[in-house]
């Protein structure tokens, strides 16, 4: 009896071991790569944020000094303002344009495939290419945009060379590149809304405008929340188009938080301070996401008790 039970216990243990070996054989390589390139450096970054280190000399433990320095850093403060300015332009524009384009593209008319292709195509254009295109299109002397203004009899603008307009140009080109994403997401959501809803509203005498804003749009609320969060996170992390157009200029007017972070880390070699800034950014992103999600849950509960 006992030997049989022991044998069974042993065989169960052997099977568990074999299962674990098989399982880890499947998930092991990808899991090690993903966690090794995220959790491990994330923990390291936190330790770095408590040190002063240039990558060469011996690191010096400074505790919370880097975080304290962030609060007093006027340049970082300006970078935050520039980033918020960009976010305030980019997020509403890309979400509203995505919604509008999705509604416009969600029908069967001739040429719809061509429209879709042309509107989605910018999504595959890299930041490097967008940078070259932007500096050309918005060139104050011979750029297409100023030429169009001249034809219309409007005053010429400095665009990327004007500190008050450079961020606007970057936002416009980012919307050009990213509108496809919000459009596609809204389009998928629109097609999941049962046609009966709109029909019922029509029967009740609602016009198309009312049907859309009172019936269709509320159905899209979760999608709107999602794309708003998603695009906000993208906006807060803006770096590459700034690098390929203005490199933070003119007069630092387009220096964003991540540009500042990159500069601190890889130009000034302030590894510790840059890591602290990165953690600050992470914390803000996390808080925004949680607040919006909780708010949305609450208001959704309010609507459907």
């Amino acid at each position: 009896m006992t030997s049989a039970a022991a044998g069974r216990a042993r065989s169960i243990r052997a099977r568990r071991l074999r299962d674990a070996a098989t399982g880890w054989g499947f998930i092991g390589p990808a899991t090690i790569i993903v966690l090794g390139l995220t959790i491990f450096p994330a923990i390291w970054a936190f330790l770095l944020s408590l040190q002063k280190w240039d990558g060469f000399s011996a690191p010096e433990w400074v505790g919370g000094a880097n975080y304290a320095a962030m609060v007093a850093d006027a340049d970082l403060g300006e970078a935050v303002v520039h980033t918020l300015l960009y976010t305030a332009m980019f997020v509403p524009a890309s979400v509203l344009l995505g919604l509008g384009l999705a509604v416009a593209l969600n029908r069967r008319v001739v040429l719809i495939g061509v429209y879709r292709t042309l509107i989605f195509l910018p999504f595959v254009v890299s930041a490097a290419a967008t940078g070259i295109l932007t500096t050309y299109l918005f060139n104050p002397q011979f750029g297409l945009v100023n030429s169009a203004l001249r034809v219309l009899g409007l005053p010429q603008q400095g665009w990327l060379e004007d500190p008050s307009q450079a961020m606007l140009v970057i936002a416009i080109m980012s919307v050009w590149g990213q509108a496809a994403l919000t459009t596609v997401i809204y389009l998928a959501a629109l097609q999941d809304i049962p046609a009966e809803l709109a029909e019922a509203a029509k029967v009740d005498g609602a016009n198309r405008w009312q049907t859309f804003w009172r019936v269709i749009f509320p159905q899209l609320a979760p999608v709107t929340v999602f794309v708003t969060i998603w695009q906000s996170i993208q906006a807060i992390q803006l770096f590459d188009v700034v690098y390929t157009t203005t490199r933070g200029g003119p007069l630092g007017a387009t220096e964003t938080i991540v540009y500042y972070l990159w500069n601190a880390a890889f130009r000034e070699l302030e590894f510790g301070y840059a890591s602290a800034v990165a953690y600050g950014l992470f914390a803000v992103t996390l808080v925004i996401t949680i607040v919006v999600v909780v708010q949305q849950r609450r208001s959704a509960e309010g609507v459907t008790p």
Binding site: R16, D19, G23, W24, F26, P29, T31, V34, L35, L37, T38, P41, A42, L48, G55, L101, A104, R107, R108, V109, L111, G113, Y115, R116, T117, L118, I119, F120, P122, F123, V124, V125, S126, A127, A128, A129, G131, I132, L133, Y136, F142, S147, W176, V184, I185, A188, A195, A198, F226, V227, I229, W230, F239, Y243, L261, W262, F266, A278, F282, T289
Partner: protein
């Protein structure tokens, strides 16, 4: 999700109640169609202006670009910009580097992420849930946080300034693992049970039965990896300073700094860097849209 394009757009085209305005229905319908074209034509044109400019400028003689007032239709088309680009830069080398990065990334994603996705979807073993939770949690970590330690880590391993630095981050991803797991969860379990009963090993079952069925998900995965690895600029910018290991995006960005006014040359480099993805997009548009939709919906 691939059905996105073909599904009829129901609400707009459904008939109005015939009792009210029988006569005006066909008329309204036609007017409504023309109305949407009035919106879509300018928008589509506006979206394609940068592309037209890019191709035209790359074919314009250098002497015609900086003239005032500018002319947007070149008097003659020339390949001078391309000839100069190939003669005076390492664009072919950079292009080759980018192809290596993307091909290795896609192949590795397909193998490693489908293995992991299957493991997480179908196998039961110690540590599975914990490691899956950890993987999902990493979505919250912004890449900026990882730049410095990853740089130091890669420097210690000795792959900074080599193509390896650009390749390693694209070997596997959370998106890939999650996508494949969702796909394998949607497959009926009976498919593999028969093979397992016949004495086929877990891996044999996966490789012969399950993997071949995963083609649609693998296409999504390949496009996601292609888009990300081909267009990535930030990480190569940090990790690679040696022009021999430049990816094409890094190459043209550096080029832009060095040749500020050589516009036909710059636009030619832009075309070379962008055209592969444009061609892919035009031919595999559905798959691209499915990929974008999934990457949006997963959140």
């Amino acid at each position: 999700m691939t059905a996105l394009i073909d599904r009829p757009a129901a609400p707009e085209n459904s008939e109005r109640p015939e009792t009210t305005r029988t006569l005006t229905v066909p008329h309204r319908k036609r007017r409504r169609r023309s109305w949407i074209h009035v919106v879509l034509v300018p928008v589509a044109l506006l979206f394609s202006v940068p592309f037209v400019q890019m191709f035209l400028t790359s074919l314009t003689p250098e002497s015609e670009i900086n003239t005032f007032p500018p002319s947007f239709i070149p008097s003659r088309l020339t390949l001078d910009g391309y000839a100069k680009l190939f003669a005076e830069s390492d664009i072919l080398l950079w292009l080759g580097n980018s192809i290596i990065v993307s091909v290795i990334g896609i192949a590795s994603h397909i193998v490693l992420c489908s293995l992991a996705g299957y493991g997480f979807a179908r196998l039961r073993f110690a540590g599975r849930s914990a490691s899956f939770l950890m993987i999902i949690a990493t979505i919250m970590i912004p890449t900026q946080l990882l730049m410095v330690p990853t740089y130091v880590m890669f420097a210690r391993v000795g792959i900074i300034d080599t193509l390896g630095a650009a390749i390693v981050p694209w070997l596997a991803s959370v998106f890939g693992i999650f996508l494949m797991r969702q796909f394998f969860l949607s497959l009926p379990a009976e498919l593999e049970e028969a093979a397992l009963l016949d004495g086929c090993s877990r891996f044999g079952t996966f490789w012969r039965i399950i993997f071949p069925l995963a083609r649609p998900a693998l296409a999504t995965l390949a496009i996601f990896t292609l888009l990300g690895s081909w267009n990535d600029l930030v990480w190569p910018l940090i990790a690679i300073n040696d022009p021999h290991a430049f990816t094409v995006q890094l190459g043209i960005t550096n080029f832009q700094g060095a040749r500020r006014t050589d516009w036909s040359l710059l636009m030619a480099s832009n075309v070379i860097a962008t055209l592969p993805l444009i061609v892919f997009f035009v031919f595999a548009q559905r798959q691209f849209i499915a990929t974008m939709t999934f990457s949006g919906v997963k959140g």
